[in-house]
């Protein structure tokens, strides 16, 4: 059984190499077989790192290859997933098509709204985790990760190629998050204050954010603006990245911020370590409101049909109403 699986894997990798031409460098050994994720009654209560909407459905990813989905935000089912790596991010473009990425350079694809997943990429020998994924359509998408890893696909993830214009490898920083602003431009943030922007997703230029610590995420804000957040309660805001400066938003916390979502066109909700929640309503100093969104470290937040849901080290939690 084991040898058969290795053979099948080897063949599929070989096909990927032949068909992909310029696909990522494959390890000739292909010694490590992907281990399917075990079904677990606790999947929705374990560490979850990202959550997204697939139409009306909610899908979340996390440790041990756990992917859980729910149509009501209360009852969660565990998807069948062919790897058990820590999954870090996911992106859905409609109610069916979505991608998830994670450690071991894992890229997974679902065509049925998150119930089943196919492995598109698995390179454990590289020791390069993928940290974020962004799909623009059912065919076009980005996956980014550690040490400047920047992948691009035009065929729904059948083939991925290294689309680094040189900037990212040169910086050698972890790329933590990528987003598309309201006006169609892209912003990407990473380790040690690294940030970049692009008009079309191909040509990238570095951005200067007045901060040396890591930025864990970035969200579109307003017509042209963006809000980046990260280590030790640092939040920066720019009305138009590239042309306008980044302002530091006073948050009155030193807890790190790991995720966020737009509550409305004017207001963002950020979440982070030790149940942190932070409402950001503008680029000025006084416009951040500190609160508590749940128990434990929180990684992401999403607006569901019945309200806001957060995910983190204790799985899915409905956003606690006791907002301070």
């Amino acid at each position: 059984m084991k040898s058969l699986r290795t053979v099948v894997l080897g063949m599929s990798l070989a096909l990927a190499v032949l068909g992909g031409g310029v696909a990522l460098m494959q390890s000739a050994r292909a010694a490590i077989a992907p281990q399917p994720s075990d079904p677990s009654p606790l999947a929705a209560q374990g560490l979850l790192l990202d959550i997204a909407r697939a139409g009306a459905r909610l899908v979340a990813v996390g440790e041990r290859g756990h992917i859980v989905y729910s149509d009501d935000g209360k009852h969660w089912l565990q998807a069948r997933v062919p790897v058990d790596a820590l999954l870090t991010a996911l992106s859905f473009v409609d109610d069916r098509n979505g991608w998830a990425v994670g450690h071991d350079s894992v890229i997974l694809r679902s065509r049925d709204g998150g119930q089943s997943w196919q492995l598109q990429n698995f390179q454990p020998e590289e020791h390069k985790p993928l940290l974020d994924v962004l799909f623009l359509s059912a065919t076009e998408g980005y996956a980014i990760g550690s040490f400047g890893l920047f992948l691009y696909t035009q065929d729904g993830g059948e083939h991925w190629r290294n689309a680094d214009p040189g900037l990212f490898a040169e910086a050698g920083r972890h790329l933590n998050a990528i987003t598309r602003l309201a006006d169609g431009r892209f912003v990407l943030v990473g380790e040690a204050g690294f940030a970049a922007q692009s008009e079309d997703g191909r040509q990238w230029s570095a951005l200067t954010i007045p901060y040396q610590g890591s930025l864990f995420g970035v969200l579109p804000f307003g017509e042209h603006g963006a809000v980046a957040y990260g280590l030790r309660g640092n939040v920066f805001c720019s009305a138009a990245p590239g042309t306008q400066d980044w302002n530091s938003v006073a948050t009155q916390t030193t807890r790190s911020i790991f995720g966020g979502t737009a509550l409305s066109a004017e207001e963002l909700l950020l979440v982070g370590a030790d149940g942190l929640s932070l409402r950001v309503a503008g680029c000025a100093q006084s416009q951040a409101q500190l609160g508590r969104a749940g128990e434990g470290s929180l990684s992401a937040v999403v607006k569901g049909a019945s309200g806001l849901l957060v995910v983190g080290e204790r799985g899915v939690q409905a956003l606690s109403t006791a907002q301070r």
Partner: protein
């Protein structure tokens, strides 16, 4: 021949021993008195001896793993102090609470027996927080050195606690309580003496009182003592020391700077009650740990000893009613007491201490010895009442008639108790040996001393005494006549069918019988005892508890830098987290993941095991062997699985969960999971052992009893008539256990053996008389049974009452296992009597035939 005094050996035995006992009664009595003095002196030196080691089922594979890793992963004798805010109070971040916590930490630190460097709370310097900052890490003590009770400081402590990641361990989940961890030293580092667990437990309790008692009691010198002036405070205690014996008791004061402790009688001291400055009415302190359990058990055990007096009194009342003379009643009772003294004396001479578990053995010895005393006294009374013998003659006749059946019955008991030795748990074997010593004592005290003493009894008014006996006999006669109807076959069929139905019903119910503890909390103590409420509160408020099973992952050397090995252990950890009954798991894996995340700026997207061994080395090197998370060459990694409680079903669920994972592992897996250490691991092994031993013990018990009964009667009828009622009661007891939620444990398993071993006496006495009446005196069965009941029935009833009286006082015990044993033994002693009286004649109706008419009496018996 059990009940036949005419057997050749028996006659020889009696011919030889009778002159020794009765020839020179003063010498007999003097020798016994001297031995008793020796025994009493020995018994006075007996000590309570609660050991952890002898509770282990040594042969079980889990225990072998336990012993293999004990030195590496403890064995840690931990005591937890949880200081929690009472309902209505806020969280811990307020000056008064923190002040009490600081005081508690200090008090624990200075408690003798505590390993000071390992005391840990948010006030100790080993508890630090670490946070990622832009250029690396930043850390500090959770309570800063410049701590002052200001609002800003409260804020900072709150923030530090959150950064330190100690919520669930040192701070309660809801942050309304905090923990002081401590570990006890196994031996005193200065004197090398073994830790006196019970003494430490009392000091631990004193620490609690220091903060919960509104009053402090200062012990001051009445007069100057050496270097100490009059009025000097020698010590402060937090419970009122003044009791009945205060003035005459020795009080020891170990003062700093003085070598020898100062010993003073209470009357050299004055006690002054002052308001306690450490008192905090807003808090409560929960304490958990093995030492505290032992202390509480020892305290409750002493309480049980006081029940012994009550037991004696109840038994005396039963005997008085039976003999019609308070004075005569004292004799069997006094002999029973002597048997207990002998038993304890022999126990100490054999080098044992009295374990709280075995505290019931003296009660049993009293019960057995009273039961035999009743038979002897009963026969003696009959000789006096119906034959008009003198006290001396009656005693001699009693000795001749009963010494052989009595000793046989006692040997049957010995064999019955001996089967308990099959349970490979030290504490149970000790109990069996202890009980056997008791039986030896009973043989001497009852069979020799009692007849000897009875011969001296002066009956002042023999006629009145006789009348009392006859009056009492007449009172029972209608009952005996009614019961004798059972010997008529139609009635017998009904009784047997009813018996069979009860048996079948009991068998059906007892399918739900569980092995192990069925209640949360420490099984030895009552569910609502202070200790169990304490540990329940700790489990509720903290992520860790007191119930833990540790599974050791054995792998190759340096296994913790091999990704596949670590990943397998990680999968195991997660698998166990999903098992019902598991509260949380902790192992090196989680610790390493946290470190890897910390090295990646605390980003949760890196909460995973690095695949390269460099990363694993980096993450793993943070943990020394002393952390208890790995051994020296990292070939053994323990997984701490905290369970919700230690009920049988929880343990079964967890063990089954581990076995499921092991079964699904690849056969060539580098990780071998070994169960188990930790208290729940030991319990799992014990439950297993009890489950295995249960059937074996019962089988051998019945084989042995059957052999003894066969030797006594040499008849199939005897076997059936005696054994089947006994077996029916055993099954019934299982049903009762299901009904009362009592599991089969180390403490209840021996009960079956004890009860059957003692209960068989009823059947033996009844059947021997019945057989004699039918076979030799050639009476009709029904009349024979009336005669039998007239001779033995009242003795059976009184014996059952006396036995029940001697164990029912355990229901008042503060220890749960004694309550359970008390319930079961009381029920079994009574049920065995009822079963013997009702079922035995029903069987006899079909099995016992009168011998053919012209037979020479006794011929049918003496032909083997």
């Amino acid at each position: 021949m059990h009940s036949d005094p005419r057997g050749r050996f028996s006659q020889l035995f009696i011919r030889l021993t009778e002159p020794i006992v009765f020839g020179r009664r003063p010498i007999t009595l003097t020798v016994i008195a001297l031995v008793t003095l020796l025994m009493a002196w020995q018994a006075a030196h007996l000590r309570l001896d609660a050991g952890f080691d002898k509770q282990l089922p040594k042969n079980h594979p889990y225990i072998q793993i336990f012993q293999k890793y004990q030195s590496q992963f403890g064995g840690a004798n931990t005591v937890l102090f949880a200081l929690v805010q009472k309902e209505g109070q806020g969280d811990i971040y307020e000056p008064r609470y923190l002040e009490t916590l600081r005081g508690l930490t200090k008090a624990v630190f200075f408690t003798p027996g505590v390993d000071r460097p390992r005391v840990s709370s948010i006030f100790t310097p080993d508890v630090r927080y670490l946070e990622t900052v832009e250029d690396g890490f930043q850390g500090g003590n959770v309570i800063p050195a410049e701590y002052a009770p200001t609002p800003e400081m409260m804020k900072q402590v709150r923030s530090n606690v959150s950064k330190a990641g100690i919520i669930g361990r040192l701070v309660a989940n809801d942050q309304r309580g905090a923990m002081v961890f401590s570990e006890l030293l196994e031996s005193d580092p200065v004197t090398g003496q073994r830790l006196d667990t019970i003494a430490v437990a009392h000091k631990i309790e004193a620490v609690r009182q220091q903060f919960l008692s509104p009053t402090r009691y200062d012990l001051k010198l009445r007069q100057a003592q050496g270097a100490h002036a009059a009025g000097e405070t020698m010590a402060s205690v937090y419970t009122d020391p003044r009791g009945l014996w205060f003035s005459w008791r020795d009080h020891e004061f170990k003062l700093p700077g003085e070598e020898a402790p100062l010993k003073l009688k209470g009357h050299a001291l004055t006690v002054e009650a002052v308001p306690n400055p450490d008192y905090n009415p807003n808090v409560d302190i929960h304490i958990a740990g093995f030492a505290k359990v032992v202390g509480d058990i020892a305290d409750a055990t002493l309480e049980v000893v006081s029940f012994f007096g009550l037991t004696l009194f109840l038994t005396w009342l039963v005997l008085w009613w039976y003999t019609g003379s308070a004075k005569v009643a004292l004799l069997p009772l006094g002999c029973g007491l002597l048997a207990v003294v002998w038993e304890l004396g022999i126990l100490h001479m054999a080098g044992y201490g009295l374990d709280p578990f075995a505290i019931l053995v003296p009660f049993l010895v009293l019960a057995i010895s009273v039961s035999h005393g009743i038979q002897i006294t009963s026969f003696w009374l009959l000789e006096i009442a119906s034959k008009g013998c003198s006290s001396f003659e009656a005693s001699r006749n009693t000795y001749k008639r009963l010494v052989i059946p009595g000793i046989t019955a006692l040997l049957t008991n010995v064999v019955g108790f001996g089967t308990i030795l099959l349970i490979p748990v030290g504490i149970v074997r000790e109990m069996a040996i202890n009980a056997m010593f008791g039986l030896v004592a009973v043989i001497v005290c009852k069979k020799i001393l009692l007849p000897c003493l009875l011969s001296y009894v002066k009956i002042p008014d023999p006629e009145r005494f006789r009348q009392h006996q006859q009056r009492r006999d007449a009172m029972f006669l209608p009952l005996w006549r009614a019961l004798s109807a059972i010997t008529e076959r139609p009635v017998a069929i009904v009784v047997l069918l009813a018996g069979a139905a009860a048996w079948a019903g009991a068998e059906y119910i007892s399918r739900d019988l569980k092995y192990g503890e069925l209640h949360a909390g420490v099984p030895e103590l009552k569910p609502d005892s202070r200790y169990n409420r304490d540990s329940e509160a700790i489990v509720r408020n903290f992520a860790i508890g007191v119930d833990v099973i540790k599974v050791i992952a054995e792998t190759k050397a340096n296994g913790c830098i091999d990704y596949d090995t670590m990943a397998e252990i990680d999968r195991f950890s997660w698998h166990m987290k999903g098992i019902p009954g598991v509260q949380s798991t902790i192992s090196l894996i989680q610790a390493e993941k946290s470190v890897f995340q910390a090295f990646n700026e605390g980003n949760p997207k890196f909460y995973t095991l690095p695949r390269d061994s460099d990363g694993l080395v980096l993450a793993g090197q943070q943990f020394p062997t002393s952390s208890g998370l790995l051994n020296a060459d990292c070939s053994a990694i323990p997984m701490f699985i905290f369970t919700r409680d230690h009920k049988a079903e929880t343990i079964d669920s967890v063990v089954a969960g581990v076995n499921r994972f092991i079964a699904a592992q690849k056969p060539d897996s580098a990780v071998k999971l070994r169960m188990a250490t930790g208290n729940v691991g030991v319990m799992a092994a014990t439950n297993d052992t009890v489950r295995e031993s249960d059937k074996k013990v019962l089988l051998w018990l019945y084989v042995c009893i059957a052999a003894c009964v066969w030797l006594s009667f040499r008849s199939f009828a005897g076997l059936v008539c005696v054994l089947l009622p006994l077996a029916a009661v055993s099954v019934l007891t299982y049903a009762v256990m299901v009904f009362l939620d009592i599991g089969v444990t180390v403490s209840t398993l021996p009960v079956a053996a004890f009860a059957a071993g003692i209960g068989v006496d009823y059947g033996i006495y009844i059947f021997s008389v019945l057989e004699e009446c039918v076979m030799e005196r050639r009476m009709r069965l029904r009349e024979a049974y009336v005669e039998t009941l007239n001779q033995t029935g009242k003795a059976v009833i009184v014996t059952a009452l006396a036995l029940a009286a001697s164990v029912c006082t355990w229901l008042l015990s503060g220890l749960q296992f004694q309550i359970n044993m008390g319930i079961l033994l009381t029920i079994m002693f009574l049920a065995n009597a009822v079963a013997a009286v009702l079922l035995l004649p029903a069987f006899a109706a079909f099995l016992l035939r009168r011998a053919p008419a012209p037979m020479v009496p006794a011929a049918g018996v003496s032909a083997p």
